[in-house]
């Protein structure tokens, strides 16, 4: 009876642990891109996975970092353990204290502290900084697993060996090393596992263009994960499962009991077969792994870095460019593009300002462009080098002058409005006012934007104020309104609005017009409306940061992007309205060319406002008010 209870209990916990894993494996066979819907069985993603150089590169970076970091950490850590073992009590206590810091200290503090170190030390963020950070948190694991073994080691055998005339290193190799080997191996394994799974420290110490699987996934979580990632994880999980099963069910020489079993096994199968089996598991599989990793690493790295001089570092919004456009550009020009993504202007800004990373092209929104101009972070664009600028509609260039007088620093890339996306099945009243976002009957059915200006724009517009208000009374009123709204809000999200609305998770969501076009296509129950109180019209534009290293390449890329066929290709992919009038004329689908959502009429636009840069004081007020909303 109690045995059955125990089984049930264990089964329940196993279900808890494995439910998400099963979910991920199932999703890897889901033919729908949206995780919210089951679209039928497919192996497509497994096929696509190996075509997706970004994911594969992230995967190999992960493996390479984990392998290098754990090997170096094992070396330093083992030496350190031996050294610590031979220290006097005081210095030993001190070293052990230091070793415990990364173990007791939280990952976030460690990540942050290393980030500060690299910034102050002017070490450029990239593969190297990740590696340094990983080695740092790996070493303690090695030390802590080698030390106990050292304590059990019989010191006299080492001394006897020295006494018999062995050289110290030889004596060490023959006497101490075999004794502490299990500790070294388990330290290495732990270090490797920790590196492989680390997110937090990597997140704070990584540079542009370098991603581990964790950081890649984190970036994608916000805009919807590519199913290829599920496929990769499934493959990884199953291979680890098989490998561990093989190792687990091979007799090991650890315990006496198993030794006896081993002997019996030996009699049965003969020494030679055991030996080969050990050889395969102990040497061949790891060797094979290393070969695969390094070969794959070289392959994908080679693909990544044709030549380090002829490159271009682009920092763009998530899902904001057709990857084909980049590949075509690379093919056409031979320039290698390092492509990084951000989720909000506010996340992008400190990266540019810190100067730790030098980007060649960045795509901020209107108000942010102004802020960057004011803070002297951008350089003027030489329009003579961008003849295709003529394709950009003059209406848009004129609007852009609101934040960039004379169009000196930026070239409009996309534009659009902010509105309400709603599910016609869940909302039967007409949606024409922001007020619907405060209707209690939609409690837990509302998705809000998780960025300061967008959230305040909604509240300010609803109140009838300018969305560029710096009036503290108006702002407080808006904050109060947002506070009131918080209990009704299901989640504050950014790009996830798309997936959640497609999946029918919420009835109403604040969304950018470009996203709206895509979602309506995926789920015909959805519709987009710009409220009568007015809204935000925004323009994202390309800028060249002051410390760009490849200005010429940046100009080439800008010129390329302004070509009508390229702009059209991009428009088809991302769905955001293009200011490229030549491209718009090329749109074949008449409905789309004249779409109200993509290209709203003048009357609607007249109710809309662009955002402008409000200065540091106002920004601080916005931030602190927003913080109060979020943390209330």
């Amino acid at each position: 009876m109690s045995k059955i209870l125990k089984r049930i209990y264990m089964a329940l916990i196993l279900i808890l642990l494995y439910a998400p894993i099963v979910t991920l494996i199932v999703l890897s066979f889901n033919s729908s891109r949206s995780r919210a819907r089951w679209g039928g069985f497919t192996l497509q993603w497994y096929h696509d996975l190996f075509q997706d150089s970004e994911i594969m590169r992230a995967f190999y970076t992960t493996l390479t970092v984990a392998l290098l970091a754990s090997v170096i950490a094992t070396l330093i850590g083992t030496l350190a353990a031996i050294g610590i073992q031979h220290m006097h009590r005081k210095s030993r206590a001190f070293f052990m204290g230091v070793t415990n810091i990364p173990m007791v200290n939280s990952e976030i503090v460690m990540g942050v502290s290393l980030m500060l170190l690299f910034i102050i030390g002017r070490i450029e963020f990239g593969f190297g900084t990740i590696l340094l950070a990983h080695i740092t948190f790996d070493i303690p694991y090695v030390i802590l697993s080698v030390l106990p073994k050292l304590k059990q080691t019989n010191r006299s055998t080492y001394e006897a060996a020295l006494d018999l005339g062995a050289a110290p290193f030889f004596a060490f190799r023959k006497t101490i090393l075999p004794d502490i080997m299990p500790g070294i191996v388990s330290g290495f394994m732990m270090a490797f596992t920790m590196s492989l799974d680390d997110f937090v420290v990597t997140y704070f110490t990584k540079g542009p263009g370098v991603d581990t699987l964790s950081t890649k996934i984190y970036a994608e979580v916000r805009k919807g994960i590519k199913p290829e990632i599920y496929a990769l994880s499934t493959i990884l999980f199953l291979s680890v499962l098989i490998l561990l099963m093989l190792i687990n069910f091979t007799p090991s020489k650890n315990s006496r009991k198993e030794l006896i079993k081993d002997e019996k096994y030996l009699k049965k199968h003969g020494r030679k077969r055991i030996f080969t089996k050990r050889l395969i598991l102990g040497r061949a599989i790891p060797a094979l792994l290393i070969i695969v990793v390094s070969a794959g690493g070289i392959y994908y790295q080679a693909e990544a870095s044709v030549s380090s001089d002829n490159e271009l570092v682009v920092y763009n919004w998530g899902e904001y460019m057709d990857p084909g456009v980049i590949t075509d550009f690379e093919k056409e020009t031979g320039i290698h593009v390092i492509y990084e993504e951000f989720e909000t202007n506010e996340i992008m800004y400190p990266k540019i300002r810190s100067g730790a990373v030098s980007y060649d092209l960045v795509c901020p929104s209107d108000y942010m462009i102004r802020k960057m101009i004011d803070n002297n972070l951008l350089q003027p664009i030489n329009k003579d080098h961008i003849p295709n600028l003529k394709n950009i509609g003059s209406l848009y260039l004129k609007t852009a002058e609101q934040y960039d007088p004379g169009n000196q620093y930026s070239i409009p890339y996309c534009w659009g409005t902010v509105g309400i996306l709603y599910n016609k099945k869940l909302v039967d009243e007409p949606v024409d006012s922001w007020s619907i976002l405060w209707e209690t009957k939609y409690k837990d059915n509302i998705l809000m934007q998780d960025s300061v200006r967008d959230a305040f724009a909604v509240a300010l517009k609803y109140l009838g104020y300018s969305l560029n208000s710096t009036n503290i009374r108006e702002l407080r009123e808006a904050e109060k309104l947002l506070q009131d709204q918080k209990p009704l809000v299901q989640a504050y999200v950014i790009d996830q609005v798309r997936d959640k609305m497609i999946g029918g998770e919420a009835a109403l969501g604040v969304i950018y017009s470009g996203e709206a076009i895509y979602t309506v296509k995926e789920n015909p129950d959805l519709a987009y409306a710009i409220p009568k109180e007015g809204s935000n019209v925004w323009i994202d534009g390309w800028c060249i940061p002051k410390d760009a290293k490849h200005v010429e390449n940046a100009e080439k890329f800008l010129n390329y992007l302004c070509r009508p066929d390229v702009a059209l290709k991009n428009f088809d992919y991302i769905g955001y309205s293009t200011p490229n009038t030549a491209a718009r004329d090329l749109i074949e689908d008449e409905d789309l060319r004249n779409s109200e959502v993509a290209f709203p009429d003048e009357e609607t636009l007249s109710r809309c406002e662009t955002m402008s840069y409000l200065g540091p004081e106002a920004e601080e007020i916005y931030n602190s008010l927003w913080n109060q909303v979020k943390s209330s």
Binding site: P20, T136, I139, E159, F204, Y492
Partner: protein, 274 residues
């Protein structure tokens, strides 16, 4: 012993490394915490930002959730570890392996998968709906965050307790039984006190990451619930105020160190008390 005194120099590379990548970075945090963002002058002002209602709320929320998750982990893990430790040796190593295996799938993905499970139209509610049971709204609540924490950190509680239980001499249990103690008395007087070190290291391994996480709250809280980890992450990654971020980190660090000292003390006290 004396003969090999020069061996201590083998720790030199690590010494340099630790100085450069452990100690100096921590000093950086202290430095930033006490300086002004613009001028670099010495100031306490950053701490006044830390002691605002919103930060304190994030801290206490994180503290509460972490405490609750740690407790749930402990309650779930202890019986499980006991079951495992009583199993046949070869079988138990397989089962233990089953409990570690999930850690080999990226933890962000695993946590993210809970969204799919917990959502309004998610797997769990679909199953509940199939049995005509009322749908649960768990996602984007503190409950979901606790679930995420328990889910992610449970193995860290199971393993040390399992280890200390399997190291426990079976004969001590027999001795207690022999001296007249029933199952409950044996557990309270012998098993539990002797596994306190395992429990404490489990608590440490669960509580610290739970207290400081920003990922779990990010993925399962719907951006509505800010923990101290999120506050620090925001200061560094979005608000670009490293000084305030450093001040928060520093206080968090001090808090962690103090709680570790207290728990180490309970360890030795517990040994004496029973």
């Amino acid at each position: 012993m004396k003969k090999n005194a020069e061996l201590k120099w083998l720790a030199a590379p690590y010494g340099v490394w630790a100085a450069g990548f452990i100690i100096i970075p921590l000093l950086m945090i202290f430095y930033y915490a006490f300086t002004n963002q613009e001028t670099g002058a010495f100031t306490f002002a950053n701490f006044s930002e830390v002691f605002t209602a919103s930060t304190m709320k994030a801290f206490f929320l994180a503290f509460g959730l972490a405490l609750l998750s740690t407790l749930i982990c402990l309650v779930l893990a202890y019986p499980l570890a006991m079951i495992l430790s009583k199993m046949h040796v070869s079988r138990s190593s397989f089962i233990v392996f089953l409990f570690i295996l999930p850690m080999w799938m990226n933890f962000l993905l695993r946590t993210f998968a809970w969204q799919t499970l917990l959502e309004k139209n998610g797997v769990i509610n679909t199953v509940l709906g199939f049995f005509h049971l009322p749908a649960q709204s768990i996602i984007n609540t503190p409950g979901a965050i606790i679930l995420g924490m328990v889910y992610n950190f449970l193995p860290f509680m199971i393993l040390p307790i399992y280890n200390s239980l399997s190291k426990l001499d079976r004969e001590l249990i027999n001795a207690a039984r022999d001296l007249g103690a029933n199952n409950v008395q044996t557990f309270m007087n012998v098993t539990l006190p002797l596994t306190v070190p395992g429990i404490l290291s489990g608590i440490t391994m669960v509580f610290i990451p739970a207290l400081t996480t920003f990922v779990i709250s990010d993925l399962l809280g719907g951006g509505k619930i800010l923990l101290i980890g999120n506050m620090i992450e925001q200061e560094f990654k979005q608000l670009n105020n490293w000084n305030v971020g450093s001040a928060m980190s520093m206080l968090l660090m001090i808090f962690l160190v103090i709680s570790m000292i207290i728990s180490a003390k309970t360890d030795t006290d517990a040994g004496a008390a029973f």
